[in-house]
Symmetry: C2
Subunit: 229 residues, 2 copies
């Protein structure tokens, strides 16, 4: 019995050996001026749990991370970034890769222009913040020539979860999408509940710890590459 | 000699006994929608160091804190807030107070309207973010009838430090202002360098650890209340 457990554990440790997997995690931060910024809520917990689970299976994990207060999981190579532009560039530098798991909460928009000086309060009242679109990292990785074999996205939605998630998976061109209703689960918590969408169907995963969700996703990734051969 | 040290330490522990001091720290976070927000860079380190130093001198410290990843210093009563409006309300609830030390990096502006649903990317391009002015907590505390005897502000500037700081101290109506050039010191670092401005003059404090700066400011506060009698 012990032998079986050891064998299983050793097998698990090499399940993804030789596979390079990019994982993005955390928020991006888009400067307005030297003291102000726009960002998204994201603790980085889910992305770091996934990076950790994949590395435990022997994958060569490249964790492209926005600013979070988490330590780097064992055997994971971490690349720190701040903005969506930096995150995209860092991801492209890690190619070619077997898989990309885009967990980061990337700012869809950034200020049109960034002030080098702290903007002063004036009698004219508050400024109007003109925004411009940031690069779509998930769509870029999904649609490029050098596309990783497997591209997985995460989507935070507040309403019409299934509909928005299905549309988003098709629009982005990713293989799988894990969508969660952020109006139900507070940011920074340790539990998560997702819809798991693929081209062929949708699974309603039960609520679980973020590390359990990372394990379950890792198993799916192992199965995917085993089928690929 | 030991006796002298013990006496000095005991005296220090009661220097500010019976004084209620409000300290604000950390950033404020202003929601755009359930996933996006505007904020300021602030680790909370300086404010927490000051709260800690004042509590060590026996003050009844009320630490009104934006979201930071720091633990509450011993003997400090912490009130967690998110927005500038919440921070102002929490400060006013702590009145009457002997002193208020406003270290928080409060957002000067917040979105004019907050969306209850996650704003979707549309073909129309990015939205324009209309901003409105937030309450000025430092000016409010400085100018109100129930004003704490001593009101101290912090100012982060990127240019013309002395000029902007002198104007700001007068405009806000606070007693002292500690101004630092944030183009020189990175946010989240453990060192700080400030100009210390009072009604009667300006001192150029050398660069030091944030805890040393907290000690030095505490000594000034002790001296202030000793003079008051």
């Amino acid at each position: 019995e012990i032998l079986v457990a050891v064998r299983s554990s050793l097998r698990k440790a090499t399940d993804l050996a030789g596979r390079r997997i990019i994982v993005t995690a955390g928020p991006t931060v888009e400067s307005i001026d030297p003291v102000r910024f726009i960002s998204n809520h994201s603790s980085g917990l889910q992305g770091y749990a996934i990076a950790s689970a994949l590395a435990a299976r022997g994958a060569d994990v490249r964790l492209v991370s926005g600013p979070v207060s988490l330590s780097t999981p064992p055997s994971v190579q971490r690349i720190n970034v701040r903005t969506a532009e930096e995150m995209k560039a860092a991801c492209l530098e890690q190619l070619p890769a077997d898989a990309a798991i885009c967990v980061a909460a990337v700012s869809d928009w950034r200020p049109e222009s960034v002030s080098n000086r702290k903007m002063k309060k004036t009698a004219d009242g508050p400024p109007t913040l003109m925004l411009r679109e940031n690069p779509d990292i998930l769509a870029t990785l999904s649609q490029m020539a050098e596309r990783p074999t497997l591209v997985v996205g995460f989507a935070a939605e507040t309403d019409d979860l299934r509909k928005h998630a299905e549309q988003k998976r098709r629009r982005k061109g990713c293989d799988w999408l894990l969508a969660n209703d952020v109006s139900k689960h507070r940011f920074g918590g340790h539990r998560n509940q997702v819809l798991f969408l693929t081209e062929t169907g949708t699974e309603d995963w039960p609520e679980m710890n973020k590390s359990a969700l990372a394990e379950r996703l890792s198993e799916q990734i192992v199965a995917f590459f085993q089928k690929q051969g």
